[in-house]
Each structure stands twice: as C-alpha cells, then as structure tokens.
C-alpha cells in the first residue's frame, strides 16, 4: 500500500551474524519474509532461534549483516526513526510478558495512550475490540496473575496487535500450552493474517503448528550455525529435501 513499492518484502535479512561475546551463534543468515506470510523459524533447542528473533526485533544488535523492514534498515535508522520503526511490529513474548501491575485492559491501552490521538472513550472501545478478537471479552479488569497461561498469551497477542503492526513476531507461542489451546492459538494467528494482512514470524518447534499454518519455514541448525533449509514444510518433509530438515520435521522416525 503506502510503501513506495508494494513488492518490497516485509523483512529482508542478509548475511546476518549473531554472537554473544566471542561465541558465534549464527553466521551468514539470509532470508526474506514476504508480506502477509506466516513464516516459521524452526530448529532444535539451542540452535539460535531465539537469538535470531532478538536480533530481528532489535533487542540485540547484529554483529554483522543487515535487517530491513519494508526496505528500511533498522540499524542505520536514527533514534527517532527507529522508534517509528518499532511501532511497525509487535512481539508476543514467550510468557506473554504482560505488565503485572496493570489490568489486561490497561496493558492493551498503554501503547494506544502512548502513540495514538484517540480519546479515552475510543481507546476503551478499541481495547474491547482487541480483547474480543483474541476471545477475552469480559476479562478486561483482570490482572495477569489472575488468568491462565493460555489466556496470558492471548492477552499478550491483543497487546502486540494494539497498534495494528505490519509484522507480528511470536516467540514459542505454543510453549506450555495444551494441544487444544495451542491449536486455537494457531487458528488465531491465521485469522489475524487473513483479516488484517499481518505478516507473522513465528519461532517454534511445535511440529503440529508448523504443518498446520506455516507458509514457509526457515530451519536453523546448531552444528551448522546457520540456515540449513528454507521452504514449504510439507515439501521439506519429503525425500529429496535437506536430510537435517527432513529428520526434524519427521521427528527422526522416517530415516532412510
């Protein structure tokens, strides 16, 4: 839409290197995420999925390489522009990361208070809509400590969606959830993409979710310290694809 060129990918990562001190976690990572795509970053524990996420959302500056959102580099942006860029994406943290001293309503309302010209009444209305979208109508006055883990994640999603971000990052959305709740969260992710055209980047190793909603996956590997496969998960699970990706996606049960 308003971007100079609508064909610019939502996220463009090239030759990214992530490290903690002297330890290189990932090197030479390049990939693009198209607009309106549900993109999964997968891989075994300790392969650097979360590190990659922290680099993408700017919590951890990349050691080398660039990350571009809609053609614009995060690292090159000035302080003011960076704050604007931050508003273009929302993050759903693993445990929801709701502010514990605020009610759910206040949690969702805080970004709206900070960044929008809405009146208090309009804000309440919009918060009610966001909570309804994630199925939490009537829980606005609850504190995060008073609701279950799955509800906390959904509330975290409502907060991440508050400013209608172009991209939403999900850190292990199904961790610690039962299969049914996990599936309903998957459904929610797909629904949000379909309604709002939001680009979704999901870090997960939940096979069920990967096959259910992922358009494409990026597979990271610990020993390779980087990307080993990229593509549609159903194709990657079939013979002919990268052996490591295939092993992962078939839980190692389908060895040749």
């Amino acid at each position: 839409m308003s971007a100079p060129d609508p064909s610019t990918p939502a996220i463009e990562v090239s030759t990214l290197e992530c490290r903690y001190g002297d330890t290189v976690v990932l090197r030479d990572v390049s990939f693009t995420v198209r607009r309106g795509e549900i993109f999964f970053v997968i891989g075994g524990s300790g392969c650097g999925k979360s590190t990659l996420l922290r680099n993408l959302i700017g919590l951890h500056p990349p050691a080398a390489g660039t990350v571009k959102f809609f053609g614009e580099s995060f690292a090159d942006a000035g302080e003011a522009r960076r704050r604007e860029l931050l508003r273009t994406f929302g993050v759903l943290y693993q445990g929801g990361a709701l502010w514990s001293s605020l009610t759910l309503r206040e949690n969702v309302a805080l970004p709206l208070e900070e960044y929008t010209p809405l009146t208090a009444a309009e804000r309440d209305e919009l918060v009610a809509l966001k909570l309804a979208q994630v199925g939490l109508t009537g829980y606005g006055d609850h504190y995060p400590a008073e609701i279950s883990g799955g509800m906390r994640k959904r509330a975290g999603l409502a907060r991440a969606l508050a400013l209608d971000p172009a991209v939403v990052f999900f850190d292990e959305p199904s961790a610690g959830l039962d299969p049914l709740t996990s599936r309903s969260l998957d459904e929610l992710i797909r629904q949000i993409r379909d309604t709002l055209g939001t680009t979704c980047v999901v870090v997960s190793h939940e096979l069920a979710s990967i096959f259910a909603i992922a358009d494409r996956v990026l597979m990271l590997d610990k020993s390779a310290k980087g990307v080993v496969a990229e593509g549609n998960p159903h194709k990657l699970a079939k013979p002919g694809a990268d052996a490591r990706a295939r092993e992962f996606l078939t839980r190692g049960e389908n060895q040749p």
Partner: protein
C-alpha cells in the same frame, strides 16, 4: 492491515461526504493509520449538510436515510482507524434512523466494525463497591491486625521448631549460606554503620552541650553520650540501617524465589524453606547485629569525643575516664541484648514478607516495602518493651 507497511509519507486519512437525495455518499481516501489523526464524522456530516443547503438552495435538505461508504482510488491503506470511523458511522446512523451500506468495503472492515460496536456494548461495568460503614471498616481492620499477628506468631514458632531441629542435628544447618549472609549483612555494612554511628555521636554531643553548658557540667557530656549510645542509639540505629539494607534484600530475594517457583521446588523435595532459607539468614543477622552495634557504639563515642575536644576543650583522657564512671558492663549488656533481639526481628520480618510475597514483580516490590515497615514497627515496639523491662529489673 490490508497490506500494512511502514511508510509515513503517505497522505493523511481523508473522507468526503456528499448528499444525493436522501443518501449520504462517503468516499474514503488517503492512509488510515491508528497512530495518525483521522477525520471526525460529525464535522463531515455537518459540512455535507451545509453544502446540500447551498447547492440545492433549500432551507431544509432532507435528512439522510442511508450512508454509503466506498474507497477512493487513492486509498493507501487502512487499519483500526478506519474500523473506528466505520463504528462511529454505525452508531450515528442508529441514532439518526439511517441505514448503513458498507457493501463496497472489504469484508474484514465490515466484520471488524460490527465486532467493535458489539464489543463496546459488552464492556462490563465494574461491580459496585460494597457499601462500608465506619463500624464495619473498624471491625475488618481489627480482624486484619489479629490475623497478621497470628501469621507472625506462627512463623516465629515455625522458625523456633526449625532451630530446635538444627540444634539436634547441626549438619543440617546451611553453614555455607550462613557465612555468606554474615559477610553480606555484616562486613559489607561496616562503612554505612560506622558513618551513621559517628554522626549520631556528633549530633548527641552538640545537642547535649546546649543544656550541660548552662550548668557548667560540660564534662558530663561524656556520660550522656556514652549511655545514650551504648544503651539505646547504637543498637537502634544499626537495626534501622540493617532493616533497610538487609531486611529488604531478604524479602526481595525470597519473593523472587517464590515467583520463580524455587520455594515450591524446595518443598516438593521435602526441604523446609524455613530451615533452608530462613534460619541461615536470621542467624546471620542475630550474630552480626550485636557486633555491628558494638562498632557503632565505639564510633559514636569517638564522635562525641571529637566534638567535646573541639567545642568544649575536654581532653579525650578526661572524657574516657568520666564515661567509664557511668557506662558499666551492664549498660553494654543491655545494648547487646537489644541488638540480638533487633537482629532476629529484622531477619524474621524480611523472610516472612518474602515468603508471603505475591508471585509478580509488583508483589516482590510490595514485599520489600512491607518487610522494612514491619521491621521498623516491631523494632519500636520491642524497644519500648525493653525500656520497661530493664527499668523493672533495675538495670
């Protein structure tokens, strides 16, 4: 939403309305961004009606019976801002008995606008506060105090039982933690306790000098400061410093451990949190508090001596001998007994509040605050009790 992006250079959200017959045609253009201002529906209607008046030259243009929305070709993007605008129109039409035609809009906008007006109706009113009269409040407060006193008593009892268990089997005691805690709350507190002790001595000297000089009893300043420091100020000031420094730290540490389910993990291994966490901490304070109080006493006397020498020209030797005439071993014992009790109070208050902390960041903060408040309150109560008790004993 419908292909959102980061561009901020796009034109602002725009809506133009035109009255044709009894139908209001609204065309939406520009970029609708929730973070940017959007047109107000009331202004747009007012302008459209005014235009209709001038163009049709009619004093009373017909009231719109329908509102029809459509996208202009230059519509650059939309998000919740457009949804809220649509919601505003929906509500307006309901109030003006008009029909809303959103057929030309994408399906998600229609659905979200309906959801928005629906969700707003479901906004639940907060339950009314139950009416409270003064007597009821007083009663609740009284039972609350009783309940809290019970909690403290139960906790102290549990600690006493733990101490008895450890006394029977000293290998069960966490000696290592005890030493670490003693270093933390004792050795590391020397600078601040020393500074405060010295300054208290100085302050007492200046205050005492005002009165004593009038009677020519300058030399008795030594007795005044010695007694005040040793019996009272040394122990109390040290306890106040440690309540803020160590008691709050105990509460924050244990509160965090509780929030992280570490306390639960201890319990499920059959390890009593009181034995494992509370006893080493309380014992560390019980040992270090009297030592720190002695140190504060010495620094306080030194402070008094300095001022007496500088202000009243009393030689340190004369000061020392005069002080020894009143400050006996018994006075020192009084201060030490108090210091041990204060140490136990500060340690127990910190640990108790930490263990009952709520499992959240705010809960840990409240636990630390509450630990200091509880410790100070109990300190003052205990000090008053000791004053009466030592008086009765004639110490």
């Amino acid at each position: 939403m419908s292909a959102p992006s980061v561009a901020t250079t796009a034109s602002a959200a725009r809506a133009e309305a035109r009255l044709e017959g009894d139908c209001m045609h609204v065309v939406l253009g520009g970029h609708w961004r929730i973070t940017q201002p959007r047109p107000a529906w009331a202004d747009i209607v007012a302008r459209a009606m005014a235009d209709a008046k001038t163009s049709a030259n009619a004093a009373h243009p017909p009231a719109p019976r329908c509102v029809r929305l459509a996208f202009a070709d230059d519509l650059a993007g939309w998000d919740s801002a457009l949804v809220m605008f649509a919601g505003e129109i929906l509500r307006w039409s309901r109030g003006h008995d008009a029909y809303c035609d959103f057929a030309a809009l994408p399906e998600p906008v229609r659905r979200l606008a309906d959801q928005l007006t629906g969700a707003a109706e479901q906004v639940d009113a907060p339950p009314p506060e139950p009416a409270q009269n003064f007597l009821a409040m007083l009663g609740h407060a009284a039972t609350d105090v009783w309940r809290k006193a019970g909690e403290i008593a139960a906790f102290v009892g549990e600690c006493a039982l733990g101490a008895a268990r450890v006394a029977r089997d000293p290998r069960k005691f966490r000696w290592r933690d005890w030493l670490d805690e003693m270093q933390q709350c004792g050795a590391m507190a020397l600078p601040i306790v020393g500074l405060i002790g010295f300054l208290v001595g100085v302050t007492l000297a200046y205050t005492g000098a005002i009165v004593l000089r009038q009677y020519g009893g300058d030399i008795y300043l030594a007795d005044l400061i010695g007694l005040a420091m040793v019996r009272e100020m040394g122990a109390v000031m040290t306890a106040v410093v440690l309540a803020g420094r160590t008691g709050a730290a105990f509460a924050a540490t244990l509160g965090n451990m509780k929030a992280g389910e570490e306390i639960d993990a201890l319990t499920t291994f059959g390890i009593r949190p009181v034995d494992f966490l509370v006893l080493p901490r309380v014992a560390a304070l019980g040992v270090m508090m009297p030592l720190l109080a002695l140190y504060a006493n010495a620094l306080g006397v030194l402070g008094g001596m300095t001022v007496s020498y500088g202000l009243l020209n009393i030689s340190p030797t004369a000061y020392w001998h005069e002080m020894l005439a009143t400050v006996t071993q018994r006075s020192i014992n009084v201060g030490l007994i108090k210091a041990v009790a204060f140490g136990l109070i500060v340690g127990l208050a910190g640990c108790l509040r930490g263990l009952e902390a709520e499992r959240s960041a705010a809960g840990v903060g409240r636990a630390a605050t509450s630990a200091v408040v509880t410790a100070l309150l109990l300190l003052v109560l205990a000090d008053a009790f000791f004053a009466v008790a030592f008086n009765a004993l004639g110490w």
